[in-house]
Amino acid sequence: MNRQAQSAVLFVLGAALLHAGLTDLYLRYVKAGLRPLVLAAGVVLIATALATAWYEWRHKDHGEGPGEGHGEGHVHREPRVSWLLVLPLFALILVAPPALGSYSAMRTGTALQQAYGYQKLPADGPLRLGLADYAGRAVYEHGRGLAGRQITITGFAALDRSGAPYLVRMALNCCAADAQPVKVGLTGQVPPVLKPDGWLQVTGTYTAKRTKDSVNGGPIPYLQVTRAEPVPTPHDPYDETWNN
């Protein structure tokens, strides 16, 4: 790859990172806290591309021997492996793959862990909880303060091999490579047809029913569903509460 092509690849790569960082696209892949770094990397890559192009141009302009791209004298070729940098460009710009969904969730065991402590819930009225928060309280607090309350949680639908429905949220520490699911089983008035990966807002009540994850034996609590309605994919598809 000669300098002009390198400059082009660097520029597009930087632009792709900027694009991902300036929209919500980056949230599909990394934690929200990485945003400034992603943007800075995009700026540096674009600066490198411009600097490369500028020195290339000046170099030619001053007539210090033929520049590159003229047939002879390509002393500065990068190894072929540099061509691979084109792959993430296509992946990020043309395909922009979605956040991890039910496929990854069902092949990984639930990652539910006991939190340091659980914040006190408001004394009465309907509750709106994070999915991992509900699961943690249901399993490790034995549903203390949850019984008899109307509870609303949000996540995407996933079906295991036997077709049993779960509501899942992927929890993330750094990037999607370390994302792990937290699962809540659905029972009661579950919609007859569930589309895997479809986001749902589910309202229901606590139930003591439990099961073990078939992948790692982790605990999966249940929610007795009374109502389920489709919602758009949230702004940040991952649960990042474990970062703090």
Binding site: M1, N2, Q4, A5, Q6, A8, L10, L17, A20, R28, Y29, V38, A41, V44, L45, T48, A51, T52, Y55, E64, G65, P66, G69, E72, G73, H74, V75, H76, R77, E78, P79, V81, S82, L84, L85, V86, L87, P88, A91, L92, L94, V95, P97, G101, Y103, S104, R107, G109, A111, Q113, Y116, N173, C174, C175, A176, A177, D178, N216, G217, W242
Partner: protein, 341 residues
């Protein structure tokens, strides 16, 4: 090949001049043209390509692939900037003064100095490469390469957060990582041969302004290490989305297999050292010693690092250095785990 360029070429370690006949054949299709054609082709075939990538396995693979890159590129860029700054603005005499004359002493000093590079392993490879080119004894640069990603404050804090009930894990990680880094440095002093390292390129900044040299170095390192980073990301994505996780469960039952399995997992997963503690914490079915092995091996040697080391230091070096590091890291982790955990 040397006929045309008037000024000396930049420090292009990996840019082997192509043998003339092959180069001539390659010339006709020059790379900007190939790049443009490739882009056009992909844009035109967007529909079919998306269709082919619609399967859940492919989608999940792509997501992890892109995620590893988006997450690692900022750190790679940071390391590359730092290494370019070292290469261009820091005079070689600085390191001669900063490090002890005796190489055997320089190794632990460089190992401890790794604590000041805040970043993950993607940043440390280019920096270590720049140190070697700046005349630092390779043994000390290697100790720095191995210790920096594991013992910097960000990584240790993440480890403490991930293991709230086992604070000794942080100390064990620090001790084991430093031990391995120093041991590898001393081992290199004893057994290493300079001809294994890719020869540092000629000093090439004469005849160029500092700006040109700096940006030339940044461009070269991003293209080079970035290409290898893509290889590593592909491997990690394949493991995460294709290999069944249930295999892990069987492995955890035997203590010896558990340690070896997590060491192997650290190598193939290629997770950033700032995140690996959280993954280790989630592998609850494994013993603490096995998880310590995961934390010590991961920042020192994994597929992505191996690919990047091959690019920076040469294949002959990486093929010997990586297995030795792996073996030593496993042994030291088991011993440390036995004593401390």
């Amino acid at each position: 090949m040397s006929v045309t360029k008037a000024p000396p070429p930049t420090r292009d370690t990996g840019e082997d001049p192509r043998p003339a006949p092959r180069a001539e054949a390659g010339r006709r299709l020059n790379s900007p043209l190939v790049l443009t054609l490739l882009m056009l082709l992909v844009v035109l075939c967007q529909g079919p390509i998306r269709g082919a990538l619609g399967a859940p396995v492919m989608q999940s693979w792509m997501t992890v692939f892109v995620a590893v890159l988006v997450q690692a590129l900022p750190f790679l860029v940071l390391g590359v900037l730092l290494s370019a700054a070292i290469a261009v603005f820091v005079p070689p005499s600085f390191f001669a003064r900063a490090l002890p004359k005796n190489p055997a002493l320089a190794v632990p000093v460089a190992g401890v100095a790794g604590a000041v590079l805040p970043g993950c392993e993607c940043a440390s490879v280019p920096v270590a490469g720049a140190l070697v080119r700046r005349g630092v004894t390779p043994a000390a640069a290697l100790a720095f390469l191995l210790s920096a990603p594991a013992i910097n404050p960000i990584v240790l804090t993440a480890t403490a957060v991930a293991f709230p009930r086992d604070p000794e894990m942080v100390v064990a990680r620090l001790v084991a990582s430093l031990l391995v880094a120093c041991a590898m440095g001393w081992l290199w002093l004893r057994l290493g041969r300079t001809d294994l390292l890719k020869p540092p390129a000629r000093h090439a900044y004469e005849g160029q302004g500092r700006g040109a040299a700096f940006w030339g170095s940044v461009r070269h390192d991003v293209m080079h290490a970035g290409g290898f980073l893509v290889v590593g990301a592909m491997a990690a994505a394949t493991l995460k989305s294709v290999v069944p996780q249930a295999w892990l469960r069987t492995a955890a039952e035997n203590p010896v297999i558990a340690v070896l399995a997590l060491a192997a997992l650290a190598v193939v997963l290629s997770i950033c050292s700032e995140a690996d503690a959280f993954v280790a914490a989630s592998l609850t079915q494994f013993s603490l010693t096995a998880r310590l092995t995961f934390l010590v091996v991961g920042p020192m040697i994994d597929l992505k690092l191996f690919a990047m080391q091959t690019g920076t230091f040469g294949r002959a070096f990486a093929l010997r250095f990586a297995p030795a590091t792996l073996a030593l890291a496993i042994v030291v982790s088991v011993l440390t785990g036995w004593v401390m955990l």
